[in-house]
């Protein structure tokens, strides 16, 4: 792979079409082998890595769930001790929320957004690489601690005083708190990259009303991440400080407040679920459009609904605190706002159904998951309306009713679209199709298994079963439904297992897909499957919201970019007019080094506050190495 330093300023217009690809590959490719893997800044390689890692965490979290169901299948079962159970349910929640749900959505965006907006790489590619290593480090921290019987055991939400210095002995709660720091750092980095990519690197002509709905959903999500994650950073840092150096944020005896934790946590925690849900909404819009064979009905309404949901989501958090004794008037406000967020959700559902009505449905696996999503998510949303009512909530808060509710909205509302999205974009990522036949089996097993497992939990909650209990007594009337739920969970697990099997097999042996197997309208389908390292030989130019349907056989493109330098186009915010031929950074080992030094500092700081001082020095060195100009063509200006 030549360095291209000798050649200067060779444009794609000077080379014939076949040579352009080769020259671009030279400039953009990641070298094979270990070093290439560690130093790559290609959003597709990093995105794939991210997606795979997130699904590994999903599988591990699923195993934990099966252990929970096994323990709860019978009253007073002795499969798991209370300590082990408390670690397992804490790990299940923390793993699913912080290591799977948010990262997988960000990962899909990392892979897809640059392709969908028609650019060559995500903004801040080295930061992207860094964010993956930090995410991996946080996940390893949590799971290795768990394997060493040091897993956090205070619930994924770690309420004080249970998680505070007085009642949570050892380092378990600190490990939880620091894992938060890792995952939030990673998520914030990706959010910044997405905002800048979507704002400034869109294809010429991609005005705001031509941005694909998935990209819109990721833009809103990125802003949610930026505004919500600081709250949990502040919370987890305050918790570590209380535990490590004796601050009193949450100690009522010295002017602190127990509820301060809940306010901080849920101010983050409620937007968090929309951080998970809104990308899924974008996926639904995308899949419905392709498989109904028409653009989604109500583009503007859907964008407004996304933005309204994002903004409203910051005004709901107290609904997690309805039984803490806050003033009635205040709580009632949050009932109103929590119910109100159902309205943009309704707008979206109705627009999607209208799209299906006016379209011509093609019943491939992705569409099955969308239909499953509508059926399941609406149930979850409606139980959400139920728990939004303060009085209703006083009976179901902290019971299995809530467990049912959030699984319905998270699995129905996010995981179903995600699996549909994997079936949909798998050909783009790997160049091969997944199996339609197995896909149907996967859908039905998951759909039936999920509903049979979780629907009974609504009843269990109303029948008085609290949540987060490691067992229950035989004279309570809960055994039957619990056994039923546990048995049904096996069906659900089988569905997921089959999905993983299909994914592995298809990656190797699936039939080749070609660039656009679904005849879909958005830009990622204009390039090969999988895309080359440089995404597009020439940057596309768009004139509408469904470029490949509008432009049929011939794609409008822009030329004039250099092939000996990593170049992409920076365009204006609203009208997407080209402003500069910006450089995109080359492969670099510095993000990995910075991630390693950051991880060392963060883990060390669980044990000593001095880590922040001494640990900063290697980080500073790594950052200087990262940003110091290397004299490569990308530095030219």
């Amino acid at each position: 792979m030549s360095e291209n330093v000798a050649r200067s300023d060779t444009r794609d217009t000077e080379l014939g079409r076949p040579l352009v690809g080769a020259a671009l590959e030279d400039t953009w490719a990641t070298p094979s082998g270990f070093w290439g893997a560690l130093s790559t800044v290609d959003h597709k390689i990093i995105g794939r890595r991210y997606i795979l890692t997130a699904f590994v965490f999903l599988a591990m979290g699923g195993v934990l769930a099966m252990l929970i169901r096994l323990q709860l299948a019978r009253p007073e079962a002795r499969l798991l001790s209370p300590d082990r159970y408390n670690q397992i349910f804490t790990m299940h929640g923390a793993n699913m929320m912080f290591l799977f749900a948010v990262p997988v959505m960000e990962a899909m965006a990392v892979y897809l957004v640059p392709l969908m907006v028609g650019t060559r790489n995500i903004a801040f590619p080295r930061l992207n690489a860094f964010s993956y290593w930090i995410y991996l480090a946080g996940g390893l921290l949590l799971w290795i601690a768990f394997a060493l019987d040091m897993g956090p055991d205070v619930g994924w939400f770690a309420y004080v005083p249970l998680s505070g210095p007085q009642y949570a002995a050892g380092k378990r709660a600190d490990i939880w708190a620091q894992m938060i720091t890792f995952t939030e750092l990673s998520a914030l980095a990706v959010a910044v990259e997405l905002v800048v990519t979507i704002f400034k690197q869109r294809a010429p002509g991609m005005t705001l009303d031509r941005i694909p709905l998935f990209v819109w959903s990721m833009l809103v999500t990125a802003f949610l991440v930026i505004m919500a994650m600081p709250a949990i950073m502040v919370a987890s840092t305050s918790l570590i400080l209380d535990r490590l150096v004796g601050t009193h944020f949450f100690n009522p005896a010295e002017g602190g407040d127990v509820l301060l934790w809940q306010h901080l946590f849920w101010f983050f925690g409620h937007p968090e679920v929309y951080i998970i849900f809104l990308p899924a909404v974008g996926m639904v819009s995308t899949l419905i459009s392709t498989f109904a064979r028409r653009p989604v009905f109500g583009y503007l309404a859907l964008v407004m609904a996304l933005i309204a949901t994002g903004i409203l989501s910051f005004g709901l958090w107290v609904h997690h605190m309805f039984v803490t004794g806050l003033p009635r008037l205040g709580e009632s406000f949050f009932t109103a706002s929590s119910m109100a967020i159902g309205i943009p959700a309704g707008v979206q559902i109705f627009c999607w159904i209208a799209t299906l009505w006016d379209g011509k449905p093609v019943y491939k696996t992705p569409l099955l998951f969308i239909i499953g999503f509508i059926v399941t998510f609406v149930i979850g949303g409606l139980t959400g309306v139920m728990v939004a009512s303060v009085p209703f909530d006083t009976q179901v808060h902290d019971t299995y009713f809530v467990v049912a509710h959030f699984h319905y909205v998270l699995v129905g509302g996010a995981v179903f679209p995600l699996i549909g999205a994997i079936y949909y974009w798998f050909p783009k990522i790997t160049g091969r199709m997944m199996s339609e036949r197995i896909g149907r089996w996967v859908f039905w097993l998951i759909f039936i298994g999920f509903n049979l497992t979780f629907f009974p939990m609504h009843i269990l909650g109303l029948q008085g079963m609290p949540r987060r209990i490691y067992t229950y007594q035989p004279d309570m009337p809960w055994s039957g439904l619990n056994l039923f739920a546990s048995a049904s969970a096996v069906i659900l697990a089988a569905g997921f297992l089959l999905f993983f099997v299909d994914a592995f097999r298809s990656a190797r042996y699936g039939p080749p897909s070609g660039p656009n197997p679904w005849d879909a309208p958005t830009l990622e389908w204009a390039t090969s499957s999988p895309p080359p390292s440089y995404n597009f030989a020439r940057i596309p130019v768009v004139f509408g919201a469904s470029p490949l349907w509008e432009q049929n056989e011939t794609l409008a493109v822009a030329d004039g970019l250099r092939v000996d330098r990593r170049e992409l186009v920076v365009t204006s915010l609203v009208a997407a007019k080209p402003q500069a031929r910006e450089a995109s950074p080359r492969n670099s080992i510095w993000p990995l080094l910075a991630a390693i030094s950051t991880s060392v500092m963060l883990i060390w700081s669980i044990f000593s506050p001095w880590a922040v001082v001494w640990g900063s020095i290697p980080i500073a060195i790594a950052l200087i190495g990262w940003f110091w100009p290397k004299g490569v063509p990308e530095d030219e200006a």
Binding site: A123, I226, H248, F249, N251, A556, G560, V570, A580, A637
Partner: protein
């Protein structure tokens, strides 16, 4: 797919400044994140204050001198900061070099005084929740001064090397100046809370 060329990009510049620069936007996004963090700690301050029968809790209000001196230094530093940014826009390397040295010094000065501010708080972080929150507010802001100073120092060195004569460096200087303004602006409400709200 077949392609047809409709736009010619060849005459575009290799780098844009201001809102045509991705790092400018990245800096803005970072300011949004950190700004949210500052807003939160200020909210916590008022929250804890609303719960306390007396505020400050078991402590005298902080000594005004070091904090006010820091405020003065920061506010004054906005002036050379503005000029550095202007000179960077004009791509005047000589003036930018001088300006970066000045901003480096103006970044070190408040840190020196800041060291005295901590003990002037008249309370320890582990005394009570009031002590905890004021130390965190001060600490959070200090971290921002320190990281921005590190950025300024590295950039100051860079503008003296061969990499200095580059539009990108001028963009970096502008972004750095923007961020310094942010560091100064975020100090003002924190200063207000620590030193004046405690005297109400």
């Amino acid at each position: 797919m077949k392609e047809r060329v409709v736009v010619d990009l060849s005459r575009l510049p290799l780098h844009g400044l201001g809102s045509a620069s991705v790092t400018w936007w990245g800096t803005l996004a970072f300011m949004l994140i950190e700004g949210t963090g500052f807003a939160l700690v200020i909210a916590i301050y008022f929250y804890l204050m609303s719960l306390a029968p007396i505020w400050p809790i078991n402590a005298r209000p902080p000594n005004l001198f070091p904090g006010t001196l820091v405020t003065l230094i920061l506010v004054v530093s906005v002036i050379p900061n503005y000029f550095v940014s202007r000179w960077a826009e004009q791509q005047d390397l000589r003036k930018v070099r001088i300006g970066m040295v000045v901003m480096s010094l103006l970044g070190i000065a408040p840190l020196i005084v800041r060291a005295f501010e901590f003990s002037a708080l008249n309370v320890s972080w582990d005394t009570n929740a009031y002590g905890s929150i004021v130390w965190i507010m001060l600490g959070l802001h200090t971290t921002h001064i320190m990281t921005d100073l590190a950025d300024t120092l590295v950039l100051a060195v860079l503008v003296f090397t061969r990499h200095g004569r580059n539009l990108r460096r001028f963009g970096d200087v502008q972004d750095n100046a923007m961020y310094w303004n942010f560091v100064v602006v975020t100090w003002l409400p924190i200063y207000g809370c620590i030193y004046w709200v405690s005297r109400l």
